[in-house]
């Protein structure tokens, strides 16, 4: 990758185009990260000049779909950070189990691996039938993948190890059927999921939840946008509900953090 193929001013120009033409606002994303994604895509798709790249992004709707998918990071895992899922299983979900109905929002769900992991834990706790998981992402094409619930078979060994480390006791392979190179997950899992596009930068709160999971999404936002999104979550979490973040994310510097209490060592906070 030629790391200086596009300069800071050109990144700015491109992101302004994207906002004006397509309505997606990436201007408050962490600069170094989004710049790297843009240069990576520019190289992958063999553009020869910034002008050509800019013109294509601006005018080619089909290409913009690809731009959106590649510019956002869609790397995710089932049962990523097993100790986190252990805490959900042991500390958080049993508390929510005392409610008549559980509403969960997986914000920035990407291709759905976290939503399916969560559904598996809910199922094992006999809570899935009274739960509803809202899985949202900025990006319509990853949601299509998430709906299908099919993940590359070669990752399943890792996922199965993660699952066991997170306190899972079943044979993980009972949750999917192998189909060529893909593992198709049991339909009982996504029968309790609602998939929808939602842009954390520009869209509003749409419901109240007892648990919001938003992991490794906020690291791509600048501080101001992070706080704006925390406010959005705050307005979407019931009293005594939970907010779960990625392993390197924190509520720490957000002014309202005092109104939340950390759950043990994990990146989970409870609204007081």
């Amino acid at each position: 990758m030629i790391s200086d193929a596009i300069n800071n001013e050109q990144v700015e120009i491109l992101l302004n185009d994207v906002l004006e033409t397509h309505g997606y606002d990436f201007l408050a994303y962490s600069h170094a990260s989004i710049k790297r994604r843009i240069i990576r895509l520019y190289g992958l798709d063999n553009f020869v000049s910034f002008a050509e790249f800019r013109y294509t992004v601006k005018t080619d709707k089909q290409y913009f779909k690809r731009f959106l998918e590649e510019i956002t990071v869609n790397v995710t895992e089932m049962f990523r950070d097993p100790s986190f899922y252990k805490s959900l299983r042991n500390d958080v979900l049993p508390v929510l189990g005392t409610y008549p109905f559980i509403r969960i929002w997986v914000a920035g769900c990407s291709t759905g691996e976290e939503a399916y992991s969560l559904a598996i834990v809910l199922k094992e706790l006999n809570l899935l039938n009274k739960s509803l998981i809202y899985a949202t992402d900025i990006n319509p094409s990853v949601l299509e993948k998430a709906k299908r619930g099919m993940f590359p078979l070669n990752y399943l060994k890792q996922y199965s190890e993660n699952y066991l480390q997170s306190g899972g006791v079943k044979d993980f392979s009972t949750y999917y059927t192998a189909n060529y190179s893909l593992a198709k997950f049991d339909e009982s899992l996504n029968s309790k999921m609602i998939f929808s596009t939602h842009n954390l930068v520009s869209d509003h709160s749409f419901n109240e939840f007892q648990l919001i999971l938003c992991r490794n999404v906020l690291i791509y936002f600048d501080k101001e946008l992070q706080h704006k999104v925390f406010n959005l979550f705050d307005g979407s979490i019931e009293k005594l509900g939970y907010l779960a973040l990625g392993s390197k994310e924190s509520l720490e510097f957000w002014p309202k953090a005092k109104e939340y209490k950390r759950v043990k060592m994990e990146k989970i906070w409870r609204k007081l």
């Binding site: 200086d4 962490s30 600069h31 170094a32 790397v75 690291i219 990625g246 390197k248």
Partner: protein, 194 residues
């Protein structure tokens, strides 16, 4: 080599390493002075599960403040920042840290290339990057960027590396400012701004 470049003060020191680099780090850190006037940033390949091991090991060997880097944290002089396992680490223009969970680069996350490239742009001629022992070619592209932005490229002498492949690739592909034996590195760092 060019004396004039040596006069440029170092604003940040970045060190990248893979297999075999821990020994070098454990040799360097006890010998570092306590008043290092720039931040030191480490990008070391390791298993995601051994998260705090490296931090704990280094903490016990130096008086400098060592911590795993947090996202949005600002680099500051005299402190050691370690790229967290399983994240790429980038440096913003305001010298704050961004973390990124995107695809692995050179089969690695954190990737040395990713961090060196972003640091090269921020610190330009005031950057010093050291590449240590390792068995893949991560870091080479990063060092090229450092050169392009007139920063200083330092490579561990492959003959003193437990895994020579990484420094070898670097020496073959990038013009180094200096090639150092592992036991000369602490001195080099201590004298960077004198």
């Amino acid at each position: 080599m060019a004396e004039t470049i040596d006069d440029t003060p170092c604003a940040a020191l970045f060190i990248g390493g893979s297999a075999g680099s821990l020994d070098v780090l454990l040799e360097i850190f006890p010998a570092l002075r306590n008043d290092i006037p720039f931040p030191i940033v480490l990008v070391v390949h390791r298993k995601a599960s051994n998260e705090s091991l490296l931090t704990d090991l280094l903490k016990s060997r130096t008086k400098l403040a060592v911590s795993e880097a947090n996202e949005k944290e600002f680099l500051s002089p005299g402190k050691v920042f370690i790229a967290p396992a399983d994240y790429h680490m980038l440096i913003e223009q305001d010298q704050s840290i961004s973390l990124d969970y995107s695809e692995k680069v050179n089969y690695s996350r954190p990737s040395i290339d990713v961090t060196f490239q972003s640091a090269a742009e921020v610190f330009k001629e005031k950057l010093v990057c050291i590449l240590l022992s390792g068995s893949n070619a991560d870091g080479v592209e990063g060092l090229k960027s450092v050169n392009n932005f007139k920063g200083r490229v330092v490579i561990q002498n492959p003959y003193t590396a437990i895994m020579p492949y990484m420094p070898q690739q670097a020496v073959l592909n990038v013009e180094p400012h200096v090639v150092l034996d592992s036991h000369d590195m602490a001195d080099y760092i201590n004298n960077l701004n004198d």
